[in-house]
C-alpha cells in the first residue's frame, strides 16, 4: 500500500475526531420537543384498542394510526412480475406484525418525560399465530414447490407470505447435471444480523410557513424528499431534507422508515414545533433493518476436469414483516439469485428465489446485500466439488474463474462482468499469505500433533457504481444510475463542490476534493465539498451500492473538466493569450514555457462574478458548471480473501492467524481511505461470520436485544488484515471501482472453507460460533474423521 504521506489530510478528520461533528443528535432548536415510540411487545396481534388518556394527562401529545394524516402508508413499488405490493403504516394500524413495531408516538418536552408518558399508553392486543422462519422445517416439501401456509398470513395480500418469487434460468441445467462427473448438494442457513452503525437512526422535523424541513441521518436525502412528499401531502418543492454528519450507515440508513414518516406527519400536525427522535440501541436492534436470514438448497455440477457445468437450487430469504422502502422485499432475494455464481464462468443456471414475510423486523440493505451469504454458498459448493473430485480447491477455482480473455463476460443472470483480474488477485493473495509455508506448517501439525490449521478462500465480484442498465433495486419507479455534481469557483477563487451523494464516514469530502483539485488545477486545501442538503445540491440518489467514487466521482470529474475549460477560455481572453498555451496549476494561470504566472484564478473569478466590464463578448458571468454522470453499466471489482485459521479442538474456538484481502479498486484516489474501507468491511464480515446473530424465540421476541447478547466484534476480536491491491482502471472518468462492500463478502466463505480444509467437515450454518464448530468436530469424530 502507498504510505499515508502520499495522501492528503482528510478534511473531515479534525471535526469528526475531536468531537466537533454535527449530528442530528446535536441539533438544538427553539421550542423543540422530543419523541419516543411505543413499540409492540407482541410479534403478531390484532390491536383491539389504544388508550392514551393517561398520556395526555401527563402533558404529552400522542399520535396513533387514528390521528389525522396517519391514514397513509409506505408502499415499496416494483413492476417485477411475482412481486406482491404491501403497505407499511407509519404507526401500526389494526394489527402489529413484529415485536418492536411502533404503535404510538409520544411527544414531550424532553426524552425522559416522553418515555415516562409512553408508559401510560395502554394497548390491548389480541395475539395471532406467529411466523418466525421463512422456510418450513420439512424442507423437501418446499423444494417441490408446495409452499402451504398454515398460520395467519403477515399480509392478507400474500396468503402464502411470499412477497416475491422469481426464477433465474439460463441454459439446460438438468441436462448438464445428468452429464456431470459429479453433482454436489449443500443445504445452508445463514444468520440474521445487521449494520449497527455507531449512531442509530435520528431525525428532527419542522413544519413552518408551509415548508417541511427534515434533518435526518439518511444516506438518501433526495429520495427521502421525493418519497415523503405525497405521504405528508406536500409538494416536493416544499420539502427540504438535510443529512448532516452521519455516524455510519452501511445501508441500514438507505431506507425510508415508518418512524421517518411518522416524525414528518407529527411535525405537520404541530406547525412551528420541531420534533426530534433519536433511536437508542434497543430500538435499533428491535426495529431497524436486519439482513442475511436465508436458507439455500443448492446443487453444483462439475465435469471430470473440475469445470463447473451447472448450478441449480432454491433460496428463501426472510424479508421480515414489511417490504422495505423503497428497495422492496426483493432486495436480498434478487441480489442472492442474481449474483450467486459471482466470478465463475457458467452457462447453465436455474435458481428460484423467494422473499418470505415473517413476524420479524423488516430485512433491508446491509453492506454487501445478500452476497456475504451467497459467496459463502458458492464457495461451499466449490469446496464440496473439489473434495468430490479429489482436486485442490484453489486449482478448481482457477479453472472456473472469469479471465481476461472472457471479458466482457455475460453472466447467466445477464449481468456483465467487466473485470477479469481474479487470477491476478489470487496470485497476489497467495504470495502475501505465503501459502506454501502455511501448507507446510499445516502438514507438520498433522504429522506431529498440534492444533489444526485450515486455509480458507473466497473469491467474489463486487458490483459497484451501478448505472441505469444495472440500477439498484428491482424495477422501481426510478433508476438510480446517475448523480449530479456542481463545481463552482467562488469570487475569491476558492472552489466549492456540491455533490449529490452523501457520506456516513467514508471521507468523501476528501476524495471528491482531490478529484476536483486535480481536474481544475487548484490546491486541495482550496476545495470544499458539500453534500446532504436538498436545498443546496441539485440532485443525487445518495450513498449505497458502492457508488460514490464511481458515479459522484465521475460527475465531479466531468464538471471539473468543463469548468477548467471555461476558466482557461476566459483567462485567454482576459490575459490576451492563446487558450492552447495556457495551464491552470495550483490556482495560477501559466503560459507554457514562461516561468512566471500571468494571472490567477481569483482574478479570473473576480472578473467573472463582479466585473462584467472586463468580460469579453460571448462570456456570461459566473464560473459554475453542473454535470450529471451515469456509467450505464457499472464497474465490477474483483476480490480475493485468503486466510489461515487455527482451531481449538477442545472449544471449537477459531483463532485467525493471517487474513489477506486483495481487491481490484481500479485507480485508487486515496490509499488511506481505500484501506479504511477494506478493513472496515472485513471487520463487519468477520463479525457476521463469527459473532453477530439476531435470534428470535418461538413467540417472535428478540432474544438478542442488547449488545450483551448481540455480539458485535470489538478491536480485540479483529485481526490485523493484510490488504493488497491490484489497480486495473475501470472504464469510467476516474478509472475507479467501488470498494465499500467487497470486504464483507468474503469472511463467512473463508471461515467455512478453512474449517473444511482443516477438518474435512462442512459448516452448513452460520455464524461459526464455538459451540457450532465444536458440535461439527464432535460429529466428525463420531462418524470417523477424514
Amino acid at each position: 500500500m502507498m504510505t499515508d504521506a502520499t495522501a492528503p489530510t482528510r478534511k473531515e478528520d479534525h471535526r469528526l475526531l475531536t468531537g466537533r461533528g454535527r449530528f442530528v443528535s446535536d441539533l438544538q432548536l427553539p421550542r423543540m420537543r422530543h419523541v419516543t415510540f411505543v413499540r409492540s411487545p407482541m410479534a403478531h396481534a390484532e390491536i383491539v384498542s389504544v388508550d392514551v388518556a393517561g398520556t395526555v394527562a401527563a402533558g404529552a401529545e400522542v399520535f396513533t394510526s387514528e390521528s389525522p394524516g396517519f391514514e397513509v402508508a409506505l408502499r415499496a413499488l416494483s413492476a417485477l412480475p411475482g412481486y406482491v405490493e404491501t403497505d407499511q403504516p407509519p404507526l401500526a394500524r389494526d394489527k402489529v406484525r413484529f415485536a418492536g413495531e411502533a404503535v404510538a408516538a409520544v411527544v414531550h418536552d424532553d426524552r425522559y418525560l416522553a418515555e415516562d408518558a409512553a408508559e401510560q399508553v395502554i394497548v390491548d392486543y389480541q395475539p395471532l399465530d406467529v411466523t418466525i422462519g421463512a422456510w418450513h422445517q420439512n424442507a423437501t416439501a418446499v423444494t417441490n414447490g408446495a409452499w402451504h401456509q398454515t398460520v395467519t398470513p403477515v399480509h392478507d395480500a400474500a396468503p402464502d407470505n411470499v412477497l416475491l418469487q422469481r426464477t433465474f434460468e439460463a441454459g439446460d441445467v438438468d441436462a448438464a447435471c445428468d452429464a456431470a462427473a459429479v453433482v454436489v448438494r449443500r443445504e445452508l442457513v445463514t444468520n440474521r444480523h445487521g449494520g449497527n452503525p455507531i449512531e442509530g437512526r435520528a431525525g428532527v422535523a419542522l413544519f413552518d410557513d408551509g415548508k417541511l424541513t427534515f434533518w435526518s441521518g439518511t444516506q438518501i436525502p433526495h429520495l427521502v424528499r421525493n418519497l415523503i412528499a405525497d405521504l405528508v401531502g406536500l409538494a416536493e418543492s416544499s420539502i427540504r431534507v438535510i443529512a448532516p454528519d452521519v455516524g455510519g450507515g452501511f445501508g441500514v440508513k438507505a431506507v425510508l422508515y415508518p418512524e421517518d414518516l411518522a416524525l414528518c406527519l407529527m411535525a405537520k400536525a404541530m406547525p412551528g414545533t420541531p420534533v426530534k427522535w433519536v433511536e437508542d440501541r434497543s430500538e435499533h436492534l428491535l426495529s431497524a433493518c436486519a439482513s442475511r436470514d436465508h436458507r439455500y438448497e443448492l446443487e453444483a455440477a462439475f465435469d471430470a476436469d473440475g469445470r463447473l457445468t451447472a448450478v441449480r437450487g432454491d433460496m428463501w430469504c426472510n424479508v421480515g414483516a414489511y417490504s422495505v422502502m423503497p428497495w422492496t422485499a426483493g432486495i436480498e432475494p434478487l441480489m442472492a439469485g442474481g449474483l450467486l455464481t459471482g466470478p465463475y464462468k457458467l452457462d447453465n443456471y436455474r435458481c428460484t428465489v423467494r422473499g418470505v414475510a415473517t413476524n420479524t423486523a423488516p430485512a433491508g440493505p446491509y453492506r454487501g446485500v445478500a452476497r456475504p451469504a451467497t459467496v459463502y454458498a458458492m464457495e461451499c459448493l466449490l469446496d464440496s466439488g473439489a473434495a468430490a473430485l479429489g482436486m485442490d480447491p484453489l486449482d478448481l477455482r482457477r479453472i472456473n474463474l472469469i479471465g481476461l480473455d472472457d471479458v466482457p463476460y455475460r453472466m447467466p443472470t445477464r449481468l456483465v462482468d467487466d473485470t477479469g483480474h481474479y487470477d491476478e488477485c489470487l496470485d497476489e493473495a497467495e504470495r502475501r499469505l505465503d501459502l506454501a509455508a502455511v501448507r507446510e506448517e499445516q502438514a507438520r501439525r498433522r504429522r506431529e500433533g498440534g492444533r489444526p490449521i485450515g486455509i480458507g478462500v473466497a473469491i467474489y465480484n463486487e458490483l459497484t457504481g451501478l448505472g441505469r442498465a444495472a440500477s439498484a433495486g428491482p424495477r422501481m419507479p426510478f433508476r438510480t444510475g446517475h448523480e449530479a455534481c456542481t463545481v463552482r469557483v467562488n469570487p475569491d477563487g476558492k472552489v466549492v463542490v456540491l455533490s449529490g451523494v452523501t457520506s456516513q464516514g467514508q471521507g468523501l469530502e476528501t476524495t471528491l476534493a482531490q478529484v476536483v483539485a486535480d481536474a481544475v488545477g487548484v490546491g486541495y486545501e482550496d476545495v470544499e465539498v458539500r453534500y446532504g442538503d436538498t436545498d443546496q445540491v441539485l440532485w443525487g440518489f445518495g450513498a449505497f451500492s458502492s457508488r460514490q467514487a464511481v458515479i459522484a466521482g465521475g460527475a465531479a470529474r466531468l464538471a471539473a473538466d468543463e469548468l477548467r475549460g471555461n476558466i482557461v477560455a476566459l483567462a485567454a481572453e482576459l490575459y490576451e493569450a492563446n487558450a492552447h498555451d495556457l495551464d491552470l496549476i495550483d490556482g495560477e494561470i501559466r503560459v507554457a514555457g514562461s516561468p512566471d504566472p500571468i494571472g490567477n484564478l481569483a482574478d479570473v473569478a473576480r472578473a467573472s462574478w463582479l466585473e462584467s466590464n472586463r468580460l469579453p463578448a460571448g462570456f456570461e458571468p459566473g464560473l459554475d458548471v453542473t454535470r450529471f454522470y451515469d456509467p450505464v453499466m457499472g464497474a465490477f471489482a474483483a476480490g480475493v480473501q485468503l486466510a489461515a485459521i487455527e482451531l481449538d479442538p477442545a472449544t471449537g474456538g477459531i483463532e485467525i492467524l493471517e487474513w489477506v484481502c486483495v481487491e481490484d479498486a481500479g485507480r485508487i484516489i486515496n490509499p488511506q481511505i481505500v484501506h479504511g474501507q477494506v478493513v472496515g468491511s472485513l471487520a463487519q464480515g468477520v463479525g457476521g461470520a463469527l459473532y453477530e446473530h439476531l435470534v428470535y424465540d418461538e413467540l417472535g421476541n428478540l432474544s438478542t436485544g442488547t449488545l450483551l447478547d448481540y455480539l458485535m466484534p470489538t478491536a480485540a476480536e479483529i485481526p490485523d488484515f493484510d490488504v493488497g491491491h491490484v489497480e486495473q482502471p475501470a472504464d469510467n472518468p476516474l478509472g475507479v471501482r467501488g470498494v465499500g462492500e467487497g470486504g464483507t463478502l468474503g469472511p463467512a466463505a473463508v471461515i467455512a472453507s478453512a474449517i473444511h480444509d482443516a477438518l474435512g467437515v462442512e459448516l452448513d450454518e452460520l455464524p461459526a460460533s464455538p459451540d457450532r464448530v465444536w458440535s461439527l468436530m464432535r460429529r466428525a469424530e463420531v462418524g470417523g474423521s477424514p
Partner: protein, 280 residues
C-alpha cells in the same frame, strides 16, 4: 432508554444509607459502581423510587489483612483497584477478566457480589475463597457465608434494607483460574476457579447454573489426594462433567457448556500447576 424518575440520596454513613433503605415509602435501591444497575434503570427493568448512592460513604473502601489470615475488602473497592493491588493474587487475576477498563474503574467488589450474576468472576472467587460477606441492616451488622448468599440467578439472601459493607476472603495456598468468553471482556460462558484454602479444596464453576457452583465430588477427590495430585485430572474432569447441571441459551447448548465446564476445569488445574507459590 431513559430511566424512570428517581430520587438520588447521597448518605455520608452506612447508618444513613440503611435508614433510607429501611423506609418502605422510599422504595430504595443501593447504587454502587452502577455497571449493572444503570443499564437496568435505562431499560426500565428496574424502577426504584430512590437510589442510595454508596459512593459517598468513605468507610466502605479499603483493603486490609485480618488477624485470621484473610483479606478484607471494603465493599466499594473498585475492580481496577483489585487488579492493581497485589494483596490477593486470585482476586487480582480474576478481576482483570471483568469487562473493560472503563467498567472496572467504576465497578466494585460489593456491587458484583450483590448483583449475583453467576457468569461474573467475583461471585465464584468469593465462594472459592470461603468468602464472608459483611452486611449492615437496620438491626445492625451480620455476616453471611458467600456460599449461602447466592440464592438463584441475580438473587441473594440479602434483605432489601441491607447493604454489603465488606467482603472477606481467605488467601488460597494454591489456586488456578480459567475463563471462556465469546469476546474479550464478556461475561463468562464458563469460568473455573480452583483453590486450596485452609481446610481443603474448592472447585467452583461460574456460568453453568443460576449461582456459582461447587463441584463437591471434585473437591473430595482433591482433598483425598493428600499431596500427590498426579493422575487425578481425568477423575476431576469426569466429576465435573458428570455432576454439573447446566442449561441452553442463545450462546451455547447445555451439552457444550457441560463439556466446557470440564475443559476449563482442566485449564484451571493447568494454570495452577504453572503458578509460583508466591502468587497466592
Amino acid at each position: 432508554m431513559k430511566p424512570a424518575p428517581f430520587e438520588l440520596v447521597r448518605p455520608a454513613t452506612v447508618d444513613d444509607a440503611v435508614a433510607v433503605l429501611a423506609d418502605p415509602a422510599a422504595d430504595a435501591k443501593p447504587l454502587a459502581g452502577g455497571q449493572s444497575l444503570v443499564p437496568l434503570l435505562a431499560m426500565r427493568l428496574a424502577t426504584p423510587a430512590t437510589l442510595v448512592d454508596l459512593n459517598t460513604i468513605g468507610s466502605l473502601t479499603g483493603i486490609d489483612d485480618t488477624a485470621d489470615e484473610r483479606v478484607r475488602f471494603g465493599a466499594m473497592t473498585r475492580q481496577s483497584t483489585l487488579v492493581r493491588s497485589r494483596r490477593h493474587g486470585l482476586v487480582a487475576h480474576a478481576s482483570a477478566w471483568i469487562g473493560h477498563t472503563a467498567i472496572r474503574s467504576r465497578g466494585t467488589i460489593g456491587g458484583s457480589v450483590a448483583h449475583a450474576d453467576p457468569s461474573a468472576e467475583l461471585p465464584s472467587v468469593a465462594v472459592a475463597c470461603d468468602g464472608v460477606i459483611g452486611v449492615a441492616g437496620p438491626d445492625g451488622s451480620r455476616t453471611i457465608a458467600a456460599v449461602d448468599l447466592f440464592e438463584s440467578m441475580l438473587e441473594t439472601t440479602l434483605r432489601s434494607d441491607e447493604i454489603i459493607t465488606e467482603v472477606t476472603l481467605r488467601r488460597p495456598q494454591r489456586w488456578g483460574f480459567a475463563e471462556f468468553a465469546r469476546r474479550d471482556g464478556d461475561f463468562a460462558l464458563v469460568l473455573a476457579v480452583i483453590a486450596e484454602v485452609a481446610d481443603g479444596w474448592r472447585v467452583v464453576l461460574g456460568g453453568v447454573g443460576p449461582t456459582p457452583w461447587r463441584c463437591r465430588d471434585a473437591e473430595r477427590l482433591l482433598d483425598d489426594s493428600a499431596t500427590d495430585m498426579s493422575g487425578l485430572d481425568e477423575a476431576i474432569l469426569d466429576a465435573v462433567a458428570d455432576t454439573v447441571e447446566t442449561f441452553d441459551d442463545v450462546h451455547a447448548s447445555a451439552e457444550y457448556r457441560r463439556a466446557m465446564a470440564a475443559e476449563f476445569t482442566a485449564r484451571a488445574l493447568a494454570d495452577m500447576a504453572d503458578r509460583e507459590p508466591g502468587d497466592a
